[in-house]
Amino acid sequence: MSSQTDDELWSAIGDPSRRQVLDLLVSNGEVSASWLAGQVPFSRQAVSKHLVVLERAGLISRRKQGREVLYQVQADRLDQASRAMAGLAAQWDLRLGAIKRLAEAAHTENKRGYAENKSGEGHDG
């Protein structure tokens, strides 16, 4: 998770505009940059920049067809990102589960201690 490649992957997906471009590619298969530019609220230049970043991260690939360049998602790489993300989330769920158990046990213990002190005071007094 700490390699240069993974950093590129996460920063590529981290940008909401790039996720939008990626989303369009995921839903529409192989399309051109001009087609993408027609679907998003930002410029054709911005689309081109996003495509470069996504390609560098290995999330999409390009192919020339006649005079057009067509882009499509690399499903394996996306799947890998999605699994890594789910793995990290699951890790935090395990940690939160452990915190919950520890805090609830400590709280029960505190309450019992308090009750014993009180009953102790009662007996003494």
Partner: protein
């Protein structure tokens, strides 16, 4: 991992003060997080966490008991964690009734420390939805292709 953002939460049947001790006391931290935690809970304090036979430095950012605690780490690279090379982990504790606390953790690669709270919240909300939707859709597409 700039851009990555994880956002999870859990409801705990204990007051915020108890949850606070569980997440900040080094002895307790070693029960749910690293195997060994050398850390003073003060803003700016530098410490160390050991995971198995690997470990890395950690820097405490926000200490606001019993509501907010954050630290920065970049396990397992070993470099000193600063904005840009590391992940920020932020815990938020919100009481829900007398003896119940919602504990939320956000781990992200962005530098959020100097942002106003409202701005941070907006960013987190946008991204949480963005991420969730994105990965839901992705799961569907990837599922179809397999």
């Amino acid at each position: 991992m700039p851009g990555l953002m994880i956002d999870r939460d859990v409801l705990i049947e204990a007051p915020a003060e108890v949850v606070w001790r569980t997440i900040t006391e080094p002895d307790q931290m070693s029960l749910w997080f690293a195997d060994r935690v050398d850390l003073v809970i003060e803003p700016g304090a530098h410490g160390y966490m050991q995971f198995g036979d690997q470990g890395g430095p950690v820097v405490v950012e926000i200490v606001d008991p019993p509501a907010r605690f954050s630290f920065r780490w970049n396990y397992p690279s070993g470099e000193e964690p600063v904005a840009g090379n590391s992940m920020l982990v932020e815990f938020t504790l919100t009481p829900e009734g007398d003896e119940r606390t919602r504990l939320r953790v956000v781990e992200c690669g962005h530098e959020l420390r100097d942002w106003p709270d409202a701005e941070k919240q907006r960013y987190a909300d946008e991204h949480r939805e963005g991420w969730a939707e994105f990965f839901d859709r992705l799961a569907t597409v990837v599922g179809k292709r397999q």
